[in-house]
Symmetry: C2
Subunit: 249 residues, 2 copies
């Protein structure tokens, strides 16, 4: 939550108005325009339910970067956390988050997201987890994989023949989980049909803003980024980490 009245100093606009400097006002307005408290174009339509899937060893920022961005879509997105069973789930870094639902009792979702993290190494071989996530992904109109979450999504078979990307440091292992997936080595994120997948960790945050732009308009996404004081990298092809990790020249 942030204040609408956000200025301890008189703004340049206020000073110009006080001085009657109306001829300079148009130019000054751009320089001092504040991020408004409510979005310039309020989100419309049905409220959406976003389910983030957790498992022991999930990567913190894979989960909480995208959720941070969606949380700014004012009162239009309900966030729920889902794991194989409801209850405490330990991240790769240590902190424990509570899953609200298990796969068996998860509510109907509009968007489902799966993060990466060391725990994916175990979950790709956990048939119950893969089946539970597969059912959720089949029933949900928008499926999002972050980082090595793409490896788990690949194991469901749902993205055979679909374009996708994943973490650039774990490329060999992750892409090995889906021989029929059309893996894209240089991409911050990839959209193909109802699936979106992002590259490693921080890429999920840029992708989340791209999804907000598609659902609510680009002005809404930029407003969210400004509220979060986040510099959004909005070009999915701009991926320096493919080169840093030797996947492309």
């Amino acid at each position: 939550m942030t204040d609408a009245s956000a200025n301890a100093h008189p703004s340049r606009r206020d000073m110009l108005l006080a001085a009657g400097g109306l001829s300079l006002l148009a130019a000054a307005t751009t320089a001092t325009a504040q991020v408004p408290f409510e979005p310039p174009v309020p989100p419309t339509g049905e409220k959406k339910r976003l389910g983030m899937v957790l498992f022991d060893g999930f990567q913190l920022l894979d989960v909480f970067g995208p959720l941070e961005m969606f949380s700014h879509v004012r009162d239009r997105v309900e966030i729920v956390l889902i794991a194989q069973k409801a209850g405490p789930v330990k991240s790769a870094a240590g902190p424990v988050t509570l899953a609200d639902f298990g796969f068996a009792d998860a509510p109907k979702l509009d968007i489902v997201m799966i993060p990466g993290g060391g725990g994916t190494r175990r979950e790709v071989n956990n048939a119950d987890f893969v089946a539970g996530f597969r059912a959720l992904a089949q029933a949900t109109p928008q499926v999002v994989a972050i980082c090595t979450g793409s490896a788990v999504l690949a194991r469901t078979g749902l993205i055979d023949g679909v374009r996708a990307t994943t973490n650039k440091m774990s490329w060999k292992w992750a892409t090995g989980q889906g021989a029929k997936v059309l893996w894209v080595p240089r991409a911050r994120w990839v959209e193909d049909g109802k699936f979106i997948s992002s590259s490693g960790i921080s890429a999920g945050t840029d992708m989340a803003l791209a999804l907000i732009a598609r659902l609510y308009g680009k002005d809404m996404a930029q407003w969210v980024a400004n509220r979060a004081e986040y510099r959004w990298h909005d070009d999915p092809a701009d991926d320096p980490f493919a080169r840093i990790n030797g996947l492309v020249d």
Copy 2:
């Protein structure tokens, strides 16, 4: 966790080696150098304990952006979560995280961090919370405030006469919590003595990398950023959000 063996495609280096193209190898090595699995300069010294303070209504990315970055400092940083009382703490966005300790039984820390979020509006007027956090901050050699966490830190009185910054949208309210603090309107983050404070939400992640650079060297910070596929904005004076929010021309 990411793979050390991260390349599904033969690297340019491998192809050059196979072709015996040794004269081109030096140039090619730079272009295809991978992020190594272990940091080029391993962290040394005592293991550090980082305590993140939680309260109902904390901002997700304020907490988990910095913790994500510190979690990559291999086996040298222990992360603990501390609240007024141990147990579940609900974020502003909804997800619940478990605090490991209450203020009364918190272990000795090397670094303490306090995030922002809507809950700061309540906690600045919660004398027990302010006193508990004050005692923790006094006993800890490195104190870090993220976003409107600076407002709570200001209420302790510990940063009277100290340079600090805070969220740019909530500037008026947050700076109003500490009339004697030397507030800096244009700064991604500000370091002064044992205190570091960052601007809104995402700025905490850039600041965390700056603290990693101070503690473990800039190469370590850049290695962490590359592992997290994060574009680190490493200049504390580079703050476009001060202008977007009308605090500076």
